[in-house]
């Protein structure tokens, strides 16, 4: 038994090293003095300053934050509605359709989602003249569709695990359904709402493939800009950008995790 446990322990430690070596090397070489990303030649923060002066990247980052915040907010509303429908209403027409459509975007390959949404927008444009142009709006719509799926899954599991007698007590005391929702249900599920919003935000902020399909002139998100730069070769500037993003995301993720921890088991 002891030997088997050792093997499991050994593989796990290797696994964790495997998960972190690339990220750590990325961070280390963002402080490299030389333009070469793989040969160390002294500590420098000059790539971070170069980054701050790169208008293209700053503009793309602003656009990405806007798209992510907007789509995460709508995702939160739609995803919560879907979660309530799936966990609170016993049966209604389209329930299995809704539950299928909520979980499918979680694993649908991005190329399929991107292509199909683009073709939808093109078809809509020729039918009703909207959307006139691909851009931030079409990216936001695309991101909402998968963001709401993640929110729905998180909120649904929270709704399934909480004490319904609280809601029932409020109802018995004469509270209207909306009142029950805002005074009882919402506070209890709020940790799930916060982590759902954060997850939808990061997924939108990170998306390259779907955004590339449904973007238009002038709407280059941060991943699109990064990808086009990576294709030309790797630079310490991208490493610096990656470090900033990873540190920010680590803070976000830890916050989301702490929110999740508030959920009593």
């Amino acid at each position: 038994m002891n030997r088997n446990r050792r093997i499991v322990q050994f593989i796990s430690i290797l696994g964790f090293i495997f998960l972190y070596v690339p990220i750590i090397s990325l961070i280390i070489f963002s402080f490299n003095n030389s333009k070469l990303v793989s040969v160390w030649s002294g500590f420098s923060t000059k790539w971070y300053f170069a980054l701050l002066q790169n208008e293209q990247i700053i503009e793309a980052a602003k656009l990405s934050v806007f798209i992510a915040a907007f789509s995460a907010t709508i995702s939160l509303i739609l995803g919560t509605l879907a979660a309530i429908a799936l966990s609170r209403y016993r049966s209604f027409r389209g329930k299995s359709l809704l539950s299928g459509m909520v979980s499918a975007p979680l694993i649908m390959p991005d190329v399929i989602t991107g292509l199909s949404l683009l073709l939808l927008f093109v078809t809509l444009r020729s039918l009703i003249g909207w959307p006139a142009q691909m851009g931030a709006v079409t990216i936001i719509i695309a991101h909402i569709s998968f963001g709401m799926a993640f929110v729905a899954i998180i909120v649904q599991s929270r709704l399934l695990h909480f004490d319904k007698s609280l809601e029932e007590a409020a109802k018995d005391l004469g509270a209207k359904p909306l009142r029950v929702f805002f005074d009882i249900t919402l506070p209890i599920i709020s940790p799930a709402l916060i982590s759902g919003w954060l997850l939808a935000f990061t997924l939108s902020f990170d998306d390259l493939v779907i955004a590339s399909f449904v973007t238009g002139p002038g709407a280059s998100t941060l991943p699109i800009v990064i990808f086009s730069k990576i294709r030309l070769g790797i630079t310490p500037e991208i490493n610096a950008l990656a470090t900033i993003i990873i540190v920010l995301v680590a803070i976000f993720a830890t916050l989301a995790m702490l929110q999740m921890k508030k959920i009593p088991e």
């Binding site: 990220i23 090397s25 070489f29 793989s38 809704l98 993720a253």
Partner: protein, 307 residues
């Protein structure tokens, strides 16, 4: 009487509220998730043309006011007759299946280790798995370029240690492709497995041990069968997105490592052949429908256990 009316009113507003809660998200997903797939299917049966949009309409009013429907199967014939597409299709299946296997091989012990760790350490380990999952996919794949390049970090270390004389070509090979997929999707494997293994009843194992079961027998007769839903859920979370992966093959894979997602992208953006791109998407969907159903069932089982 007044009370009765108020109750009626409340019942009606409840019904309206319930309808809104159900039909707003349902309508959204129908319009922006299901309908797009129908359009893809439709366009996969259209013929390419020069113009905007670059395909011919399927429905046309002929001169005598009859609606004619033109179905063009040429795109699918092309997929089945051109070895480029068949190879890409089979290659994607192979790469996704093998990567899923490797991910399971590394992910299972890790999930088990975390599930059996002390409660204090467990949460930290879990956070360590989740952090990469949250941080940018694109940048994590990018990090491997710096490691695997000919003059990259791994080759430099090996050269300096005198283990090799000339750099090993690792970037733009199948090796790099597998590393990239296993690395990127490892958290997707660990998390559902962990969720399953952490619920494993310690008493079952003790009972089996008391009855004299050896560690290996314990694993194969109790732990493995009980963790099957977790294995299936985790494997599908890796296999399905890996089939259509675009970023990893285009950054880490070689120019000959054909994957269906990358070809779809090229057909779409470089060749502007939307009908063939759509046909590829339809073909890809047919591979993932079965795993999708498997995944859904495994998820249902997990939820059933939860309740």
């Amino acid at each position: 009487m007044r009370n009765f009316i108020r109750q009626r009113e409340r019942a009606i507003s409840l019904k309206l509220g319930k309808k809104l809660v159900i039909y707003i998200p349902l309508f959204w997903l129908l319009l922006f998730f299901l309908v797009p797939f129908l359009i893809v299917t439709k366009i996969s049966l259209s013929q390419i043309t020069y113009g905007r949009p670059p395909y011919l309409p399927m429905f046309e009013w002929s001169k005598d006011n009859l609606l004619t429907i033109k179905l063009y199967f040429g795109n699918f014939f092309l997929l089945f007759s051109d070895s480029l597409y068949i190879n890409a299709y089979l290659n994607s299946l192979k790469i996704a299946a093998l990567s899923t296997f490797f991910t399971l091989l590394i992910g299972y012990p890790m999930a088990y280790f975390i599930a059996r760790a002390d409660e204090k350490i467990r949460n930290i380990l879990l956070l360590l798995v989740i952090l990469p999952f949250w941080s940018s996919f694109l940048l994590r794949v990018y990090a491997w370029i710096g490691l695997l390049k000919n003059n990259g970090i791994i080759n430099n270390i090996l050269l300096n240690m005198g283990i090799i004389d000339s750099p090993i070509k690792m970037l733009n090979t199948d090796f790099a492709l597998y590393i990239g997929i296993v690395y990127s999707y490892l958290p997707f494997m660990i998390l559902p497995l962990y969720a399953n293994l952490v619920r494993l009843d310690e008493k079952l194992l003790e009972a089996a041990r008391d009855l004299g079961a050896k560690p290996l027998a314990l694993f194969f007769t109790i732990i493995l069968p009980l963790s099957m839903p977790g294995i299936i859920a985790g494997s599908m979370l890796v296999f399905i997105p890996a089939i259509g992966e675009y970023i990893i093959p285009s950054l880490l894979g070689g120019s000959d490592s054909l994957m269906i997602g990358r070809i779809l992208w090229d057909e779409f953006s470089a060749n502007r052949d939307w009908p063939v791109a759509s046909a590829l998407a339809v073909a890809m969907l047919t591979i993932i429908i079965l795993p999708l159903i498997l995944f859904k069932n495994a998820q249902k089982k997990e939820v059933a256990i939860d309740e």
